[in-house]
Subunit: 425 residues, 2 copies
């Protein structure tokens, strides 16, 4: 007999079916016992007559095969005919995973990652994360972007600023890429014009916060022949609509489990120049410590402001100061840049903008930033040979997932997070 | 006026259109000149009356915007009205990329990667590679697999054998993952049952061959509740059919440019037990140096044998010796294993099989292999808590692409290859 998934049992009412999965719960009630069996698609109650079948010694989380008659009582259930243990549990499981909530702190949850992932709420997070990645890819392929895979082992150090992990590469020193920035721009110049990448990036940042990981998945795209950053903003707006739409339609069950409320995006996401945002923060909230840049508290407040005023969970902040942006950022000419961040429910989830495409301007800007153009030869060279106007962005997948689902710590949106201390499991 | 892509010009016959792209070729013929303009979708001839428009000084590979009337002569062409330079070429390009073939050796091609990627044959390779990745993902999502992103920074060393890159991770030592093997198995045990990952893997192998990279993209999947390795073989057969079908339908133009001949997969791919293959190699080809394993020459010969006898470009070799397979490989009990390789046109492109799911068996097998179970605690622990029977495989994306397109060196299928010496560009 073929296996039936739990979610397909409703097609087999009255028939004998075989299910396979984990023993999630056992409840004994006199001569009757109830086993909740869980597979990747859901869980089902199996009713056992203990006079006929002995389930003493059956352990929680064992992998079993059950055959029985599919019946509809209050819910669909299986009237158990036979039970075989496929894979035994060798010792008692260290955390309880069959209650509504896991009663353990995040460290314990992460130390017992594989078990905790069996819990339906935690499990659902990563179904939704997978769906977001799928939707990102699908939308961009539809819009004629080419998927690329660029190296994470790189010769050069940082773009300027952030710390990088160093690596012994045979006789050479190498580093882990902190972003695919240079490579995606190079691929635009290689004639692909529109490229995207879903891949790991690495930040050797010392701080250990609720919203940083030292290894995370970056959703990147870059595109040529734009007018300015507004083309990127427009595409991101459509992209996010499409991603949220996909999660809504494909992950209904998971959204319910997580009691997650997805944001709505109207035609346009409100947009505000950073100097204006800084002024509002000062005037409305009395926050007067911001000069030319915004901090996490400012992001939270401006997000609240926009939510109250425009009922939007999202806000684009634009025109960041040239001083505060990387050397490849296109300047406006008055000290600001054609760049933006997207703030979502108080947290920045995207950085993007138009890039410099002129060789001379880029070289000059490196010097202005105190960088040596010699250190960026492979990157810089490309700009000598006909680089179209272009721009792009990066979205942190774990951060987007965490914000979307209201998770308090970004580690909850990373399967096996890497932070200041943690490199296991 | 909006930009029209070259491939869309046929919808604009007789109209004025604006195109943007690179100047691929310039040919002067008295008062007439021909400019070939190339964008991401193709190239088109633009006819210039040099009495009206001066194109002296126009450099190859400049980025330009051209408006003109779309006309159908022998092919579609643009009768140029205006030409604007969007982005200038700063110095002469170091390699010729507008001939049928690039006349440069692979090292020069890779040193000038971005320019060489503008050449239509090289460009096409990576459109097809992207399509293969897309099709892999699409097929598996359709078959209820969940995409996962597992860490590449890992605490433990190797699975046993292969060299790993070491990394300074703050105060700790860490390594770059040589495969997502442990993590994808853990995710099966985490209840997802069916998972896949598209991600980089790292091999610190000293040798510098035509078919190895030190960083490459691995297409991995793993699934639960299988009978044995034949379930994996069956899924891979369907998966490859689907991937080839997708390339055929989506990349017709690129296949023509590359004069690539895609293989046909009949219902089943021929399958042969390794001991039988070794016997054939001895009896038919006089190759008598193989004991319990096969080498690259053997793979080439058995591939030829199968091609001649069964007219198949693919052959599954199964039942590899337990001695030669990693410790997680499910043994058959007679010294062989439930594992397989897929050989495609003489080269191994997949390794897969059923894995051990019993804690005790896995621990014992580690010891048999001379490994210390203590070193694999995070992985091993999972097997204590109900691990279903499972198996999976890995396909090297660059190797598959190279074999599919008849490329002689795997570096030709890597955008920015990393090998024994190369970490730039």
């Amino acid at each position: 007999m073929n296996r039936t998934l739990v979610e397909e049992l409703n097609n087999k009412l009255g028939e004998i079916a075989k299910v396979q999965g984990w023993v999630q719960r056992i409840r004994k009630l006199g001569k009757i016992a109830f086993i909740i069996l869980r597979d990747r698609s859901g869980s089902v109650q199996c009713v056992v007559n203990t006079k006929n079948i002995d389930i003493n010694g059956l352990k929680l989380e064992s992998v079993v095969e059950i055959t029985g008659k599919v019946a509809l009582e209050k819910n669909i259930e299986i009237q158990l005919i036979s039970l075989d243990i496929i894979s035994e549990v060798e010792e008692n499981i260290p955390i309880e995973i069959n209650k509504d909530k896991i009663q353990a702190n995040l460290d314990t949850v992460l130390n017992n990652r594989v078990l905790s992932l069996r819990h339906k709420t935690i499990n659902s997070v990563f179904k939704i994360e997978a769906c977001l990645a799928e939707a990102f890819e699908e939308f961009l392929i539809e819009h004629d972007f080419t998927q690329i895979f660029t190296p994470k082992i790189v010769a050069g150090g940082a773009e300027g600023g952030t710390e990088v992990f160093e690596l012994k590469y045979f006789e050479q020193k190498a580093y882990l890429a902190q972003s695919p920035q240079f490579y995606k721009q190079m691929m635009v110049g290689a004639g692909y014009e529109r490229v995207f990448e879903i891949g790991h990036v690495y930040r050797a940042e010392e701080h250990n916060t609720n919203r940083h990981l030292n290894e995370y998945v970056s959703l990147d795209f870059e595109m040529a022949f734009i007018e300015d950053e507004n083309n990127i903003i427009d595409i991101e707006t459509e992209l996010l609509k499409s991603m949220i739409e996909k999660v809504k339609s494909k992950c209904q069950k998971e959204l319910e489990i997580l009691a997650a409320e997805l944001p709505e995006i109207k035609d346009k996401i409100p947009s505000m120049q950073l100097p204006e945002a800084i002024k509002i923060l000062r005037d409305v909230y009395g926050k007067d410590d911001l000069v030319k840049d915004i901090d996490p508290e400012g992001e939270r407040l401006i997000s609240k402001y926009v939510k109250d005023k425009y009922n939007s969970d999202f806000v684009f902040l634009t025109h960041y100061s040239a001083e505060k942006r990387p050397m490849y950022t296109m300047p406006t000419g008055d000290g600001l840049t054609h760049s933006f961040d997207l703030i979502f429910r108080g947290v920045e989830i995207t950085t993007g903008g138009q890039r410099i495409h002129s060789y001379e301007m880029l070289k000059r800007n490196m010097e202005v930033k105190g960088l040596n153009p010699e250190d960026f030869q492979d990157y810089l060279q490309v700009f000598k040979y006909g680089m179209p106007p272009h721009g792009g962005l990066a979205i942190g997948l774990e951060r987007l997932t965490a914000q979307l689902l209201g998770l308090k710590n970004i580690r909850e949106a990373a399967l096996f997070p890497r932070d200041r201390e943690r490199i296991t499991p």
